[in-house]
Symmetry: C2
Subunit: 316 residues, 2 copies
């Protein structure tokens, strides 16, 4: 018999059953009541897992970098899980798939677990699903989780917010740093990587980042800028050390705890909103609501007044 | 004294005061209580204005096409307002601005009103703001409103839903039709334009569209496919006639009324959700909520249980 019960699957996944783990993450991805049940089961986990976010524009070499970081973790005999986030966009599907295939190099290593996540349709989905997925991976005791996202838009900034150390990948040439700044990534970045640093323009990109860092204010931690050539493994050790330094800083300064708190609050807000929306949808399909709709369509009442009325009924 | 009262501004805008009209659209764009007040004032309007949506991937030549359609409307001595929608994306800002500048050709014509709209931050915003903007333009008696959107993603599909006739612009070459289909535009398209039809691959693109149309089901109206070379004005008359044919079809068949109803319902759902979210945010910043948050952070309660508790309090 196929097991679909989150609680049973979690027990199995904790015994290193990767199929059970994959099923749990599918539950998270699909959402709904079983995802909520699972979220309740794994809540409170997360303290022992270190989460590294890796983001940047398409083509920056994030997957090769992630590959290199996986090797760094594995050379220290630690296990790592990777969540490759794919915000559904009609224009990007293909490229990400290709990247994912490349990471399969580590697929035969049982100490590495790779999972891609996407949501179809609604955008709030990923921002809720990724922290849930991280807690599942934390419940099964992965010491490291990497979240890789493609693109530097709003969804990516939200998703990457679930990471302890946010790594932003740029490439030499004008423009990247400007886009990163525009997207609001400057405020969340803990570490900058200039990948493909053997190409022309690396110095200019560094200067762009430094300039933008000068315009920002920091409490304690100034994001380092590290140059890498990921395809040749150059600079990967340095990146990993910078991540560990940042981790130490977060622990020493108490910033880690502070960040964790604000992340939990953000997550609560998203959950409450999603649940409120669910309730609203239910209410609107209720039969007593039909005559109100007729009035609305005839122009006898406007939708804002009707919304107030509806929420007053709900609000008691 | 500067007038900021929506009611007064609306009176002025109805007397062809374009500055007042621009201010009203800024109110819509900013949202909040004044936008709600304005929405109540203009609700019920919209029946006499015909709304044409124009969408397609960047570079398809939508702005040149819109230009051509403006000329078609003007040659019939009718007025037209254009809403150029710019979903905030760090990667697209520049191009859209360029397009907009091109449309300024008609800027000296008092019978043409051009306005670009963008939201910063939150995505639901445009889907709510565009129908509000259309109603303002309808209240000041524009017989035609064009909504131009860039890109073929989720936001565009939502925004274009406010149009009576949805025009999807493609260009010769493989891929466009596939993207359009993926984005869910196939289901909302009333009219296909193959622009730059003098280039190689126009026939293949037509075949792609026809194939996808064959896989779809229609009630009454089969979307025509029109080839244009907008830069030379070729096919523009035909496009305008197709739009008018679609309009006649909507009126004759009763589909126009049916569509209007489902649009109103969708809009109500969005408004109720937005208002519910506003209430939730207020509740969460309430002092009685603080001890709950402490419990959440200590892992004594999970966010889903807390959300239920919170919404039960609200729900009475």
């Amino acid at each position: 018999m196929v097991v679909y019960d989150p609680e049973q699957l979690l027990v199995q996944a904790k015994q290193s059953n990767r199929v059970a783990l994959a099923k749990l993450l599918s539950i998270v991805e699909r959402g709904g009541s079983r995802a909520r049940e699972l979220a309740k089961l794994t809540w409170g986990h997360g303290g022992d897992t270190y989460v590294v976010g890796i983001t940047g524009a398409p083509g920056a070499g994030k997957s090769t970098l992630t590959d290199g970081l996986i090797s760094q973790v594995r050379s220290r005999s630690r296990e790592v899980a990777i969540i490759a986030v794919d915000p559904t966009s009609p224009f990007s599907g293909g490229a990400i798939l290709g990247d994912r295939v490349r990471m399969q190099e580590h697929a035969t290593d049982s100490g590495v677990f790779i999972r891609s996540m996407a949501t179809r349709g609604h955008l709030g989905g990923l921002a809720l699903a990724v922290p849930d997925a991280v807690r599942v991976l934390s419940a099964v005791k992965f010491p490291y989780v990497f979240i890789e996202t493609v693109g530097v838009g709003q969804v990516e900034v939200e998703v990457i917010g679930a990471a302890d150390t946010v790594t932003v990948v740029l490439t030499p040439g004008w423009g990247d740093a400007v886009q990163v700044n525009k997207a609001g990534l400057m405020e969340v970045a803990d570490l900058f990587i200039i990948n493909k640093a053997d190409r022309a323009g690396a110095r200019e990109t560094r200067r762009d980042i430094e300039l933008m860092l000068e315009m920002s204010t920091f409490e304690g931690w100034i994001p380092p800028i590290i140059e890498t050539v990921a395809t040749e493994g150059k600079g990967m050790g340095e990146v990993f050390e910078a991540i560990e330094s940042h981790r130490e800083y977060l622990e020493r300064s108490g910033m880690g705890q502070k960040r964790r708190k604000s992340r939990i609050l953000e997550e609560l807000t998203r959950i409450v909103r999603a649940e409120a929306n669910r309730k609203v949808d239910q209410m609107m399909s209720d039969p007593w609501f039909s005559p109100k709709i007729a009035k609305l369509i005839n122009g006898e009442i406007d939708p804002y007044s009707l919304a107030s009325e509806l929420l007053k009924v709900e609000g008691g």
